[in-house]
């Protein structure tokens, strides 16, 4: 799965140079050069990680924290890295500290030195960010698509079995009726033969109705599986509201363990 990065820097030359470095490393990079485009892209839902210049309006303005302000406006689900050529204590507090407004913190704060060490630090930070949320969503989407497909297959099987069972039941009733009629008309051998075929058809009807019943149970099972995987996804999404990334990871692990244990217990009950 390709990771999509948003790179926001008002200095085009610098932005393009970083962007080209990251593209070489295999990332998909969206580059923006101003506040408005950056906000649009962050809203778009396509971005996995955002790398934002602290002074996104004016490099000369020491009070320009626009990059940090934008970063903190958006949900914690998108990890944000702040980069700047002008690092100071206050800027770090603004980016990484917990604030009264409880807006999500950025995940890192990097000094944009002119040498290659910045690029290496940036790469190390990007690689250290867990993207489990996104990959889980994509895995879960694959699972639910498969469950949907299985559900459709089983439903068509169930429908075929039902039609066949219905046909056989009508045939068997008609044959038994004709057989009884033949016996009453003193065509005993023919009547017995027709009746026997009718009874045999009834057995086929029973077997086909059994298959229909099994298919219905499988449909119920797929339905429950789909609901369970959606519930797990919702629980994991809810855990992203926790501000602290480490604690978030612990909560996610706990959720997965509890849900897995529950699923296994259901399987055992079925057995």
């Amino acid at each position: 799965m390709s990771v999509t990065l948003l790179l926001a820097d008002n200095t085009k030359l610098r932005a393009d140079s970083i962007s080209s470095f990251l593209k070489d490393k295999g990332y998909k990079v969206i580059t923006t050069y101003n506040i408005w485009d950056t906000m649009d892209k962050l809203r778009g839902g396509e971005v996995d990680i955002a790398i934002i210049d602290m002074r996104l309006v004016n490099d000369e303005d020491k009070d320009d924290y626009s990059g940090i302000n934008i970063a903190r406006m958006f949900e914690a689900e998108i990890p944000k890295i702040i980069m700047t050529k002008f690092p100071d204590h206050e800027a770090v507090r603004k980016a990484l500290g917990v604030r009264i407004d409880k807006l999500p913190r950025c995940v890192d704060f990097l000094y944009q030195k002119d040498d290659s060490s910045f690029m290496e630090s940036l790469l190390t930070t990007i690689r250290s960010i867990p993207l489990k949320e996104k990959s889980f969503k994509s895995i879960n989407a694959n699972i639910t698509t498969k469950i949907d497909q299985d559900y459709v297959d089983v439903r068509s099987q169930q429908w075929s079995y039902f039609i066949a069972a219905f046909f056989f039941s009508v045939v068997s009733i008609v044959l038994i009726f004709i057989g009884v009629n033949s016996i009453m008309s003193e065509k005993i051998t023919l009547g017995i033969l027709q009746g026997a075929i009718g009874v045999l058809s009834s057995s086929g009807t029973y077997l086909l109705f059994r298959r229909t019943d099994i298919a219905s149970k499988r449909m119920d099972k797929y339905h429950k599986e789909k609901i369970s995987s959606e519930q797990l996804e919702n629980l994991l999404l809810a855990s992203t509201e926790v501000d602290d990334l480490r604690l978030q990871e612990e909560i996610k692990k706990e959720i997965i363990l509890i849900v897995a244990e529950y699923w296994f217990s259901l399987d055992n009950e079925e057995k």
Binding site: H89, R93, D243, D244
Partner: protein
């Protein structure tokens, strides 16, 4: 009703800043001080302040403290602001990194601001 405890982790328990801190919050809270090795003797403070000058590996200390008691907010305090150190302690789990000022009113405002962040999102 007993006052809630603000715990200051510092080697320098006789420093002027300890008195200023105590004076700034004395109406509502009690400030207790402890050296880093004794941190486990104090249960459930409402806030832990960590004096960065007192601890050799402040990042490790805060990381361990945060993982032991994630619900207790940790605020780093320093007389010598350094953005790299601030970044590292904030990433380790501190909710803020304050510069030690020697003005009771200012300290009171700073501590009140930290307490207004409670409860943390983890609740």
């Amino acid at each position: 009703m007993s006052k809630k405890v603000i715990l200051l982790v510092t080697e320098d328990i006789l420093s002027e800043w300890v008195n200023i801190l105590s004076a700034s919050v004395e109406e509502e809270y009690i400030v207790k001080t402890c050296v880093p090795q004794e941190i486990n003797n104090y249960r459930d403070p409402i806030l832990i302040l960590v004096d960065l000058a007192s601890i050799e590996d402040s990042v490790r200390f805060i990381k361990d403290l945060h993982s032991t008691a994630p619900s207790i907010p940790i605020v780093a305090v320093t007389s010598f602001p350094d953005w790299r150190e601030a970044r590292d302690v904030l990433k380790a789990g501190a909710i803020d990194c304050l510069i030690q000022v020697y003005d009771v009113k200012q300290v009171k405002e700073n501590i009140q601001e930290q307490l207004m962040k409670l409860p943390l999102n983890i609740y």
